[in-house]
């Protein structure tokens, strides 16, 4: 399979990277950070819990368009899914990185996240860009 610029950098990926919906901090939230030492990119996640559930998630991301979009989609999903369902989705996304094929029919942030991972699958050096935000999310989740 070969992807081109229009597959990897679809309009909605770039739009989400330029104007993230969930960027920012949460006062009093738990936080976690992940960094890519080879390029200097970093993602910090903030999570707010209520009754054991994540009810709000924000991120501060210094990174490429793929990393920005991935972080924003994960933040959106973290506040809406329970942690087990997000972990399952993450495993599915990692599988898409291997196969390069996103499952059909998925909607919303989950569908877009799988689309990002399908687009970047061919570029092994960029896998870390897509995966970095989840490491920051996991750290925050463990911290809380």
């Amino acid at each position: 399979m070969s992807t081109d610029a229009t597959t990897l950098y679809q309009d909605w990926v770039l739009a989400r990277a330029r104007a993230p919906l969930h960027a920012g901090r949460i006062a009093g939230g738990v936080t976690g950070v992940a960094e890519n030492r080879s390029c200097g990119d970093s993602v910090r996640f903030w999570l707010k819990r209520q009754d054991g559930r994540v009810v709000a998630a924000r991120h501060e991301t210094e990174g490429c368009a793929i990393c920005q979009a991935s972080a924003d989609l994960i933040a959106g999903l973290a506040a809406g899914l329970n942690e087990d369902r997000l972990a399952t989705l993450w495993e599915e996304a990692c599988g898409v990185l291997e196969s390069g094929v996103a499952p059909a029919g998925r909607q919303g942030d989950a569908g877009m996240l799988l689309g990002v991972f399908a687009g970047v699958a061919e570029y092994r050096a960029r896998h870390r860009c897509a995966m970095l935000p989840y490491q920051a999310y996991e750290q925050a989740a463990r911290a809380g």
Binding site: L8, Y9, L14, R37, G40, D41, G63, Y123
Partner: protein, 418 residues
């Protein structure tokens, strides 16, 4: 085997002819012709190097220095002949001043370990600069932490040149034992004023190590004229193989330094009670060396010397000027550094676009550039950026390739920047 390119006339490079020597340049990437602008990371290899190495394995290979048989003697001759070639390349006073290492990093570590721990004394200082590769930072930090050596960092100017006032102030108290600086920045392309650095350091009683990993590719280096104490470079950036690097050291300094690693080939006599060392440079070459790679380096030196450093320098200067002029036409593009003296390395950022995205889009056009921190994280911090993209040129780079690169870069900008 001959070095080839014998009919290339100086000072103008016959680039089309040179390109035919590099088989990989006829490959395609993602269906596009390969435009390889990442030679500063590792250069491509001419067929003369490839054949020298494969011929060694096919026809003339045995371990060196220790065999009494014909094949070992001939292989030893070929291996040691490269030491002569390196000595000539650098204009060293003696072949014994050339130590083979794995790469520049190992050569710097050798000096940090052996000169740093064996000759320098706690309380002395090492000076590096803000534009060093990690290979010329971390070994000195390790020396600092293990041996009580102070590590001082000379500033660079906003133009990306070494701040000589800063260097002078760091040398002023006379406690600096060694100044270890790049001869050409792998990020900024800045060529540092080696003669001035050596003069200032020696006046302050300090020795000088120059990291020539980038510089030796682009210009003639004369260690005797420079009066530099240590000079390091690596084979794979000089169109040679990986796994072979060089440390030049003044003979008296190498004599005074203890071995770096112990083992076979670096000894005089061995008993369970006591071991004596081999003479310099073998004292620093423990174990079976990278025989095939060393012979490959010899072929690479033959190759660049057959072309000539004057036409190489002229070609790369013309390419750099052309690239800088073309890049200046791209909105939002910022070239890092504007040193008066620079080699064929250009790093840049693009407003509103990340270097990784830029590099991936260039890759889709067949253009290979480096993106990231270029093993120079402190320099990125000094420049106030997280990462950059870098295009670097070699003897095989053409003006048409640079035009293709700039056009593809402008296409990436149009896609990435709203």
């Amino acid at each position: 085997m001959g070095a080839g390119v014998s009919e290339v006339a100086a000072p103008v490079l016959d680039v089309a002819r040179i390109r035919r020597d590099f088989p990989i340049l006829s490959e395609t990437v993602r269906g596009k012709p390969l435009v390889f602008l990442d030679s500063a990371a590792s250069a491509q290899k001419p067929v003369q190097v490839i054949e020298a190495m494969t011929d060694t394995m096919r026809r003339q290979y045995a371990n060196v220095h220790r065999g009494l048989h014909w094949m070992s003697e001939r292989t030893s001759d070929a291996y040691e002949g490269v030491r002569d070639k390196v000595a000539r390349l650098l204009n060293a006073a003696s072949r014994d001043e050339i130590v083979f290492t794995r790469n520049s990093t190992e050569a710097i570590n050798l000096v940090a370990h052996s000169y740093g721990r064996g000759v320098m004394t706690p309380g002395q200082a090492v000076v590096i600069s803000e534009m060093e590769h990690h290979a010329n930072i971390v070994p000195w930090q390790m020396l600092r932490d293990a041996h009580g050596i102070e590590l001082r960092v000379a500033k660079i100017t906003d133009a990306g040149e070494l701040d000589l006032d800063s260097l002078a102030s760091l040398l002023a108290d006379g406690r600096v034992g060694l100044v270890a600086l790049t001869h050409m920045s792998n990020v900024l392309g800045t060529i540092t004023p080696a003669e001035t650095i050596v003069s200032m350091a020696h006046a302050a009683g300090a020795k000088v190590l120059l990291d020539g990993s980038q510089a030796v590719v682009h210009r003639r280096v004369d260690v005797t004229a420079l009066d530099v104490d240590f000079y390091v470079f690596t084979g794979h950036k000089l169109y040679g193989p990986t796994g072979i690097g060089v440390l030049y050291g003044k003979h008296a300094l190498l004599e005074a330094m203890p071995p770096f690693m112990g083992g076979g080939d670096m000894i005089g006599t061995v008993s369970f009670e006591h071991t004596t060392w081999a003479e310099v440079p073998h004292k620093f070459e423990a174990g079976t060396p990278a025989i095939i790679e060393t012979i490959g380096l010899g072929a690479a030196i033959d190759y660049v010397e057959a072309i000539g450093f004057d036409p190489i320098s002229a070609h790369e200067a013309a390419l750099t000027d052309h690239a800088l002029a073309r890049l200046a036409t791209i909105d939002g593009l910022n070239v890092l550094g504007r040193a008066q003296q620079r080699g064929g390395v250009i790093s840049f950022t693009l407003d509103g676009a990340h270097a990784h995205d830029v590099a991936t889009l260039l890759d889709q056009s067949g253009v290979a550039v480096r993106a990231g921190q270029h093993c120079a994280e402190p320099l990125m911090r000094r420049l106030g950026i997280h990462s950059s993209a870098r295009a670097s040129f070699g003897v095989y780079t053409t003006e048409q390739e640079i035009d293709h690169f700039v056009d593809a870069l402008d296409g990436a900008r149009r896609l990435l920047v709203a």
